[in-house]
């Protein structure tokens, strides 16, 4: 068995494609992801926060104080327009003449006199992801509303001392029990799993194809089969090689994640990453790796079984592509909001590992749950290897 293993490993080490998938990709994927995501996210948010919104205000004279506040707000820029009709305003916004229209009713001032409620209209495109404009508008309006309330109440001779309590009977003070890490882990933990798990499959798939279908295509399989060594040894030798590359990929990925996380975290302006990373200890990285181990074994066995069945390299690739897509289903499911690690999800392959990785990064992992995942994945790996061995004994698979 080890003869087969070492020979396969030698061959792989001399192959450039393996090196790219197993070593280079994991090393460089994290800085790219951390860097690009961090930059893009922070720059777009900044941009959105500082954007200037062109506005049109109809019947401005009805609420001069509000108009003035809006005029002096740094994120708003007044645009002159004669339009008053709602449809015409909406069309003008679509035509990019301005960004927002505020319509104050023509009888607003008189309604104020009689203390009647009035409805203003704000017309703008609400599809933007960061709706900072409305937030700013709302802040101004809240202030304005409060100001009007005070005026009205003062007119009704309410005690000025009690005004605050009347206007806002309940004040809220938020206190967050979640550590900063938990917050970040919730957001990015699933994403890390989303990268780590496919990399295990990716690292293992090329060698697996090469060792099964590749061997058939090259015409070396038959010679190998008639060597005085049991087919179980051949399969296991090949299986361990695939597992090794898959794990090498995962190990390098985890290490790369740790190291790059620390490096990028130490850079100025990335304190969020630094805080999250500093909380993740070596123990957790080891645990992440030990969860990747059995799932990699499952991948290795399945990939090898497919590869042995296929007649050619191409055929094997055709079978493996849909497998890759199927694998993303539980991964995406694990990223869905509200999906949590419990006794049920701990038994769903791939998804359980993804959730556990998320929990580990959040720092809230339940060790019994991890044991359950580890055990169930090991059992699954055993079944997959057993199948692979059985499969390799079938003439109809070997000589198609």
């Amino acid at each position: 068995m080890w003869q087969v293993y070492f020979k396969e490993l030698t061959e792989l080490m001399r192959d450039k494609k393996t090196l790219i998938f197993v070593i280079l990709l994991p090393i460089f994927i994290f800085p790219v992801i951390f860097g690009v995501m961090g930059l893009v996210l922070s720059s777009t948010t900044n941009k959105a926060m500082n954007a200037e919104h062109r506005y049109v205000i109809v019947n401005a004279e009805q609420a001069p104080e509000f108009t003035e506040a809006l005029f002096y707000h740094k994120n708003f820029k007044k645009v002159d327009s004669d339009l008053v009709e709602q449809d015409a305003l909406a069309q003008a916004i679509r035509d990019d003449k301005f960004d927002v229209a505020i319509v104050i009713p023509a009888d607003f001032a008189s309604k104020r006199q009689h203390v009647e409620q009035a409805t203003w209209q704000i017309i703008y495109n609400q599809s933007s992801q960061f709706d900072f404009m409305y937030r700013y508008f709302n802040e101004l309006l809240t202030d304005y509303n409060e100001k009007l309330q005070r005026e009205s109440l003062t007119k009704l001779n309410v005690d000025p001392v009690k005004l605050a309590a009347i206007i806002k009977p309940v004040a809220i003070e938020k206190q967050d029990t979640a550590a900063k890490r938990e917050n970040i882990g919730e957001k990015f933990g699933a994403l890390i799993a989303y990268i780590l798990i496919p990399l295990c499959l990716l690292g293992a798939s090329y060698p697996a194809i090469d060792m099964g279908a590749g061997e058939k295509e090259r015409g070396t399989l038959e010679t190998l089969l008639i060597c005085p060594i049991s087919r179980v040894s051949i399969v296991l030798g090949k299986f361990f090689t695939v597992l090794t590359t898959g794990l090498a990929g995962a190990l390098i990925t985890v290490a790369s994640f740790g190291i790059w996380g620390a490096i990028i975290g130490s850079l100025a302006g990335m304190s969020v990453v630094e805080e999250a990373m500093s909380a993740i200890s070596i123990t957790e990285l080891v645990l992440i790796f030990s969860l990747l181990l059995p799932i990699s074994a499952v991948f290795a066995a399945i990939l090898l079984a497919i590869s042995i069945y296929a007649r050619t390299f191409k055929e094997a690739q055709n079978y493996i592509s849909p497998l890759t897509i199927i694998m993303f289903v539980p991964l995406v499911a694990a990223m869905m909001p509200g999906i949590e690690l419990n006794a049920k999800t701990a038994l769903i392959p791939i998804m359980n590992v993804a959730l556990a990785i998320k929990e580990l990064i959040k720092g809230t992992a339940d060790y019994w749950m991890l044991a359950l995942i580890f055990g169930s994945t090991i059992a699954l790996a055993g079944i997959a290897i057993g199948f692979c061995v059985h499969w390799f004994q079938q003439e109809k698979v070997l000589f198609r």
Binding site: Q3, K7, G219, E222, P228
Partner: protein
């Protein structure tokens, strides 16, 4: 000594498999299975070279795969120097050297590594292996490219490496499946010389081929397989005697099923 008795092998057909018209004419097809080899018997003594002839798809490769233990026969027996291949496949494998024209090498490994890998799989000790490889390199004149990777070798170099690989463990029986098909003249000569060399040292060789000149120059015995049955089994003199003109081609055709014979005869009549 190789003794093959009443070997048979069928391959299951998938249920939705629709047979083509030519396949329907082949009596080996039934609804569930394709009886590739139905009854093949022959034997080959020490130092003898046996030529396995037959049309494409006659069952030659299947027969040789059963001999080499890659496939398991449904019925019949194979004895290699008294070792029952079916009962002791691993023991039998130690005696077999196998090579075909499309046997490949591991491209990323050098000639030396390719050969050493199979030597080790055959359980050879490092010292003996080293000695044997050196011996083979001298014999096949391979020292120049011993450390070249198979990917960068010429066809001739590859075939020499494949030969060395097939006999590194000093097999007591050598099985060759169309070893010269698709090779250039120089490389074919290397293979034929190698078979002659085996014959000289008394190793029985079975090889399948479509080239009757190879049969004429090398073989002591001839077996013709047609539609999964060993239609002829005898020595080369008996085989030649089948044709009044002592022509191997005519002899071969006379052994095949009557259908083929009549077509050929009509063609000859027209000519």
């Amino acid at each position: 000594m190789i003794e093959v008795k009443q070997l048979a092998k069928a391959f299951a057909l998938s249920k939705n498999n629709k047979l083509s018209d030519t396949e329907k004419q082949d009596i080996r097809y039934s609804k569930e299975a394709f009886h590739s080899v139905r009854e093949v018997s022959f034997n080959c003594g020490d130092g003898e070279v046996l030529g396995l002839l037959g049309p494409n798809g006659a069952g030659k490769t299947t027969t040789l795969r059963m001999l080499s233990t890659a496939l398991k026969p449904d019925a019949g027996s194979v004895l290699l120097n008294g070792v029952d291949v079916l009962k002791h496949p691993v023991k039998a494998r130690q005696q077999i050297g196998f090579l075909s024209a499309d046997t490949g090498l591991y491209g990323k490994l050098t000639a030396l590594e390719n050969i050493a890998y199979f030597g080790r799989l055959h359980g050879m000790k490092e010292q003996a292996l080293k000695q044997r490889i050196d011996e083979l390199f001298t014999l096949l004149n391979m020292h120049d490219f011993a450390n070249r990777r198979a990917d960068n070798m010429s066809t001739g170099m590859k075939q020499k490496t494949a030969i060395a690989r097939a006999v590194v463990h000093k097999p007591r029986v050598v099985i060759l499946d169309e070893p010269t098909t698709g090779l250039d003249i120089m490389t074919v000569q290397t293979v034929l010389d190698f078979i002659k060399g085996l014959k000289q040292v008394g190793t029985p060789v079975i090889f399948s081929t479509h080239h009757l000149d190879e049969v004429a120059s090398l073989c002591d015995r001839v077996v013709v397989i047609d539609k999964g049955i060993s239609a002829f089994n005898g020595d080369i003199a008996e085989f030649t005697a089948l044709s009044p003109n002592r022509d191997l081609r005519e002899a071969f055709l006379s052994v095949l099923q009557p259908v083929a014979q009549t077509t050929i005869k009509t063609e000859q009549g027209v000519a």
